[in-house]
């Protein structure tokens, strides 16, 4: 039976259709395996080969991978939440309540989105502490640290813009306070707050702006930065693995 399945797999992998999609072919030589990675638009961000030590728990605690996982969970649940949420003042709060009490699995998706968001912020900081205290930011990885700082900013902005969307008292006053902090910027503060909110008070314009930032602009920026972040790991010589003391 096993040989039959294996033979069937081999037949599919050698078929013309498969070969038009995966050009590297069915071989299992090092060259074939390398080409399988290099010729895949997603996998080519990563190295063809890595040190086996980099896959162990201790060098990374898997914090970067866990952060990515929470981000993917947030994209999936976020898109699903968008099907029931209207970013308008009369509807936003009710839609949030409907998601919790009326929509099938709505409460699960909303809570998953919320907890994944909290986890992502925590994991981003944990990841940065790990990188910092192990000195993994040092040459040749300085630029990837900078990309990471922008990813931290993207994460915090996503967190902040998402906070307004339930349109409850907590959200309203948090964004009132946050936008007044932005107003404290010298010279341009008032303009920044005005542009942020699309007005002088937290209202319909602010809700819509935060929605577009939260659902389109910031996730796209984060995704782009994540791609660069991973590609730089390869370009900077792989994950930082300290010398083991024997």
């Amino acid at each position: 039976m096993a040989t039959l399945i294996k033979a069937e797999f081999e037949r599919i992998r050698n078929s013309e259709v498969w070969r038009t999609i995966f050009r590297s072919g069915a071989g299992s030589s090092n060259l074939h395996r390398s080409q399988a990675v290099q010729q895949n638009v997603f996998l080519h961000l990563f190295s063809v080969k890595i040190r086996s030590r980099a896959l162990e728990f201790s060098p990374t605690w898997y914090l970067g991978a866990l952060t990515l996982s929470t981000f993917l969970v947030l994209i999936a649940t976020g898109i699903l939440l968008m099907f029931y949420y209207h970013p308008s003042v009369p509807e936003a709060y009710n839609d949030m309540k409907d998601l919790q009490f009326v929509v099938a699995s709505g409460v699960f998706l909303r809570n998953l989105h919320r907890w994944a968001a909290h986890a992502m912020v925590f994991l981003v900081f944990a990841h940065m502490f790990k990188v910092f205290y192990r000195g993994a930011y040092r040459p040749p990885r300085q630029f990837n640290w900078v990309i990471g700082i922008f990813l931290l900013l993207a994460t915090l902005l996503l967190s902040y813009t998402g906070y307004l969307l339930p349109w409850d008292q907590l959200a309203y006053w948090a964004v009132t306070v946050g936008s007044n902090i932005a107003k404290a910027v010298p010279v341009m503060g008032k303009h920044i707050r005005f542009l942020m909110l699309g007005g002088n008070e937290v209202n319909a314009n602010a809700l819509l702006r935060f929605y577009v930032l939260h659902c389109v602009i910031l996730p796209l920026a984060a995704l782009l930065l994540v791609a660069v972040h991973f590609w730089r790991i390869r370009k900077d010589g792989g994950l930082y693995v300290p010398e083991t003391k024997s």
Partner: protein, 172 residues
């Protein structure tokens, strides 16, 4: 090639192209500068358009002038918050005056606590007395005094966009 004997009279020597090279280079230089310059202008224009686009020209926000109520709605010595407009109307011994109820720290709506005789902010714990002077907390400024007047129809009016530098009271 560089042998002078090969040169026919009346034809420019081979050194000439070097000066023409210089001309070419300066033309290229000029076009590069023109290209970069126009890109910069276009970039600045895009920035300006973007800024203008994102600054709303018409806002549907509450007007600054508020009809607070008839004077007899406010008992002597009372501090009354109107949460919708974010103002306090105070009926003091000297007359009526109004304070903004928006905390000067980070913009939260404050609340009057009659049992403590203070105006308290729920966000970061700033406290003000009934004159709007800060008594505790992080607020950097007192609550601004707002312009109050008695309209012809007998209503007290408050202008939230006009803050007063000195104390003013409306006697009724």
């Amino acid at each position: 090639m560089s042998d002078p004997k090969d040169q026919t009279p009346g034809v420019a020597p081979h050194d000439a192209p070097s000066s023409e090279d210089a001309k070419d280079a300066s033309r290229r230089d000029f076009l590069t500068k023109l290209g970069v310059g126009s890109l910069l202008v276009a970039g600045a224009g895009t920035g300006l358009f973007t800024y203008e686009y994102f600054s709303p020209n018409v806002l549907f926000e509450a007007p600054p002038i508020v009809k607070a109520g008839k004077p007899d709605q406010f008992p002597a010595g009372s501090v009354t918050l109107d949460p919708a407009s974010g103002i306090y109307l105070i009926n003091s011994a000297k007359g009526f005056y109004a304070l903004s109820a928006v905390c000067t720290h980070l913009g939260c709506l404050t609340a009057w606590k009659p049992e403590l005789d203070v105006i308290a902010c729920p966000c970061h714990g700033s406290r003000f007395n009934r004159e709007g002077i800060k008594v505790a907390g992080p607020a950097p400024q007192p609550l601004p005094r707002l312009k109050v007047w008695l309209a012809e129809d007998g209503f007290l009016m408050v202008d939230r966009s006009t803050t007063l530098k000195a104390e003013e009271f409306v006697k009724v």
